[in-house]
Subunit: 188 residues, 2 copies
Amino acid sequence: MAVSAHRGAPLSPEEIYATALRLIDAGGVEGLSMRKLAVELDVNPMSLYHHIDSKTTLLQRVCALVGAQLSLPPDDGAPWPQQLRALGHACRASARRHPSLWLYAQSHPEVTGSDHRLWRALDRILTAAGIGPDDLAHARKALFALLSGFILGETTGALDEQGGAADLDETFESSLDFAIAGLAAFHR
Amino acid sequence: MAVSAHRGAPLSPEEIYATALRLIDAGGVEGLSMRKLAVELDVNPMSLYHHIDSKTTLLQRVCALVGAQLSLPPDDGAPWPQQLRALGHACRASARRHPSLWLYAQSHPEVTGSDHRLWRALDRILTAAGIGPDDLAHARKALFALLSGFILGETTGALDEQGGAADLDETFESSLDFAIAGLAAFHR
DNA sequence: ACCTGAACACCGTTCAAGT
DNA sequence: ACCTGAACACCGTTCAAGT
């Protein structure tokens, strides 16, 4: 029992990331510890450090993994409001699948290393909406704030506690209407 | 040296909260530990538990303290866009004073115990803006998301990394314009 | 090469014992 | 009443020693 005392197969990074994501979905980022992860992988806690630098970079990789799975709307010439809605729904859907990871990523944006895919898609849609280059950064940031804040509020439950409609699907659609109408502020 | 071995005065909750807030502003919520707080107060770590239940409730009290200092716009009949801007500026100003605490509070909304002052002020302004009772909850949540997301992005630096204008004052004003224009979506 | 036990420097919190 | 030392059950991470 020299190599991998308890397991048949050697440890792979992919296995580590997938197991970490599963534990995070089940018990939150704050519930994930290197020691628990090792137990789940049936391995000595210190063995993990042969495959990953630190817990921080582990979380970074898991965030990248989830980010890569985002199905952003393609550049297919569809009407821009429809594309904007699709982008919003893609992010919200991912956040509902992995709420704790999104909460972590939103508080530690350095882990995503500025996901340029999202910004590029958003900029493309806003340009299609007739936003000029001078207003592009402002509009992008306002939309980022709205989307990010909605996801934050839904994830933490802050939006539930405010009363009104029980489920947030309708509220999200309203917020998208709000955003689409708000873009008029950038038409001058 | 029976009572308060190292200090002249006995420990007061207010002193604990104020010192905790100072340490949080200096080193972040994750940098605050009961042990460091005790050192700062020149007291045994375990003495703190005679005055506070737990670290969680300590953070709750500190959040409440900062929340109570929010200078929300009064109901003085000023035009509603002006009042909405004032409400936004009040929150952003507080967040810039205590970024780490706001980040914590936004991820743990249960600590604020649903700050009804803010919702009531917002509802009043939205009603003045002509939003009907059926749309009030939707509009409130959309505005909450935008404001909350902006503060989150500014606090974490996510909004800086996106390029565009270097300072965010102008972007915040743009976002307020965006919000005011977006409320048209709720006029039907 | 890969794994591992012991150890280090931290946590929050409990509890029995002091005055 | 108020304070405190020791202890418990955790952390992430290092490092020398094993095979």
